[in-house]
Symmetry: C2
Subunit: 466 residues, 2 copies
């Protein structure tokens, strides 16, 4: 007996060692995924969700009265869509408010300018001459004190790209420009909007001020207004008045709102999809990110309508306050850090409502066979498999840093930055067919990941919270 | 001698009777017109003019400080472009001012709305429930008193068309809607903007109130905001707060600014081309009507650069305050009524900066041979001859009613109402190549009309002023 037991143990050990670890998608799941895909393309749930969110709630600035309405709306919507469990988790953050903003050229060419305060900007009124910079590097090269009593104007034009890659340098300017202006002594900071449009709708977005600096009024001009200032500066000195009434105002507690379609056999293992519930205040947050909320809610809802649930749980998270610093994503990662291994894989929809054109995952090699099978199921939607490209969405990234596996369903963002963070981010910018294609892709991905045998590499790394 | 004289007189009379009256374009003029056309296509004058007007002056609301700057600018520009005579003629009109405007949905779906006061609206703050009407006819059918304590909301959507024909019903709604709302007892009037765009930029424009009615606050919503109200109304009653601070404020005297390229042999006979110098206040008046000012100034300038002047004078009129009731056009017609016969023919450019696709003239039959020759010279620009279509431009129409012959150089206005009367009417909306095509067309037309032998039918009719 002892010898037999021992031999058995050895044989088992050898077996484990010999069989390579490989995550697999069962064939039976592929047929269901194909049905789900076709059903999603014909389904109007996502459109109904984003129509309701943008119409009934409208703009959802974190900490505003509409923030609370949006949380209640999301809970009710999850329930109405048949989610098995619905709950909220608190997210606390500083509250920023915008009251009014106004600017004008003074003197011989007097005229108003369309601009908007950057999130995080203090209020204040400044009348001063502009100093023109071509980009962030030029501003950062300005000597200390050289902008004393002046307004820095950075005239960097964002480039259009399907993958949104032009947003990197444009948003860096928005983040770092004000601090660079302060170091050079400026009284205010103006930038050409981080946007690719040609309308009088400026693009807001969060900025930050480096430790130890005294914040200055900071705002973005609509593209035609930045053009106008550049033309006026070519004629001679330009004096501008900027009057912002905005600023930080205490703390606020909002919520990540979470809904689950429970798995049939491994309900504690979670495939997470999500988007952010908050928006900037200028538009109604249709493409940023009502669409993402609608896509992921609808995808999980359609999975919940299947005759048989997938093995794992599908969890949809509507994150709080992404816009002002990933507050919802950070709170989720901190709260669930110990459960990173239970979160199999995650994907966030936060790049508008354009068609998904590419799919990839950061999962380890042993899971790439499963990733390829998911990609094959996505291919009829016009989605290419592009290994090694993309990354976790913004609200997933804090958790991904702690070891969560991720997938990227990459949307065509060619037009995204025409509307992003502007008054023009409204429902009419969403194409219902493209929205349905997104739902189909998320449904296929989430369903197959929830049916996979084996994992996608999620495992704790980095700091683990309580 | 007496017999001979008598016979001669008879012979002459018979000759006059026998030779049909026919206006002709000399062959020599056609070669020059062809050169002028090619030169205009390669010339940057119009772009420089509209760039300067929209940049240095910006918005030019009639009666504003910028109105006076624009008049001085236009005089200086005519002189700089080598016009032989430059002068101004006074135009007096009531002055309307816009100070602020704001609206919001109240209650469970609280959110701001993008709107703009209609020109001529009084100020005032109204909080009331909306009543939805599909179009002007529906509002006009509302019984007296039926809108007491309510806000009329007319949700008529303007149709896109190359010839701008969708503007007819949309601008009728803007003109007549407020009075219809008052008759039904409404406290305020809101309309979907008379525009074909999908941006958060509402379209202003003049309205009027019928005699004996007490004006009410009247405004236009951006198209996405009208969509939003329609969706909210589908859910139940909608209460809105509208706060306008605007209104009439005394009288103002501005000027028609006039420049002439004098004719070589018949300088008292005038071919008139023109556009209006004023604009609404929201944008910088690039397509409405900086483009027209630039096109007509540049066309006459290029004619002035020819080695030999045409027989007749080319007069360019930059009309004052077209937007609020053709004040400049009416003043010109009144002042020059006795000289209608000296004005051979007139054409106004006031439909943006899109390519001209059609040409026609209301000249009598005996002049249509000359009109056809002009059309042949325009054909290489892609311009079709469409007899019987079009009409005099707005500022020409008061004079045309008194007998002035007119020509229409009809522009492609497919996109015109995306920007017209909005903050988005800025320089970037003008295509320099299309602008140059317009200049070429106006130069060819004006030159050939100024070289024509015989007239285009201008003759006094209707009231003749002092």
């Amino acid at each position: 007996m002892r010898l037999a037991s021992c031999l058995l143990a050895l044989a088992l050990a050898a077996g484990v060692a010999a069989a390579p670890r490989e995550t697999k998608i069962p064939d039976s799941a592929l047929a269901t995924a194909a049905q789900l895909r076709e059903r999603a393309l014909a389904d109007g749930t996502a459109w109904q969700v984003v129509e309701a969110l943008t119409t009934e709630i409208g703009p959802r600035l974190p900490g505003s009265e509409a923030d609370a309405r949006a949380v209640a709306w999301a809970e009710a919507r999850f329930r109405a869509l048949g989610f098995d469990r619905v709950w909220r988790e608190p997210v606390t953050f500083p509250k920023w408010v915008r009251r009014s903003e106004r600017a004008e050229v003074l003197g011989a060419h007097a005229q108003p300018l369309a601009l908007t305060a950057l999130g995080g900007s203090p209020g204040g009124t400044v009348e001063a001459e502009l100093v023109h910079f071509a980009d962030l590097a030029a501003l950062e090269a300005a000597p200390a004190g050289s902008l004393a009593g002046k307004i820095a104007f950075v005239d960097y034009r964002m480039q259009r790209a399907r993958d949104g890659s032009g947003y990197g340098p444009a948003s860096r300017l928005r983040s770092r420009g004000p601090s660079a202006a302060i170091r050079a002594g400026a009284a205010a900071f103006l930038m050409r909007s981080a946007g690719t449009d040609w309308h009088r709708n400026p693009h807001t977005g969060i900025t930050r001020f480096d430790e130890g600096l005294t914040p200055i009024p900071s705002a973005a001009l609509a593209n035609p207004d930045a053009d106008q200032l550049a033309r006026l500066l070519a004629r001679g000195p330009v004096r501008v008045r900027v009057a912002l009434d905005c600023g930080w105002d205490g703390e606020y507690t909002s919520y990540n709102v979470i809904g689950e379609i429970r798995g049939r056999s491994r309900p504690d293992e979670v495939v997470l999809i999500g988007a952010h519930l908050d928006s900037w205040d200028l538009g109604t947050g249709a493409i940023d990110d009502g669409a993402g909320v609608a896509i992921t809610m609808a995808a999980a809802h359609l999975i919940g309508q299947l005759p048989r649930r997938p093995a794992r749980t599908i969890r949809v998270v509507a994150f709080a306050n992404e816009e002002q610093g990933l507050h919802g994503g950070r709170a989720y990662a901190a709260r669930h850090a110990a459960a990173v291994g239970k979160h199999q894989i995650a994907a966030e929809s936060d790049f508008g409502a354009g068609r998904i054109y590419a799919f990839a995952s950061g999962a380890p090699e042993y899971a790439q066979g499963a990733v390829r099978r998911i990609a094959q199921a996505l291919a009829p939607l016009g989605i290419a498999h592009t290994p090694g490209e993309g990354g976790p969405g913004p609200d997933i990234s804090p958790f991904a840093e702690r070891g969560l596996a991720w997938a990227a369903l990459r949307q065509d963002g060619t037009d995204y930055f025409d509307y992003h963070h502007t008054p023009d981010d409204t429902l009419d910018k969403i194409n219902p067919q493209a929205l349905a294609q997104n739902v189909a892709a998320y449904a296929v991905f989430a369903y197959l990941a929830a049916e996979a045998e084996g994992d996608f590499g999620s495992a704790p790394k980095g700091p683990v919270a309580d």
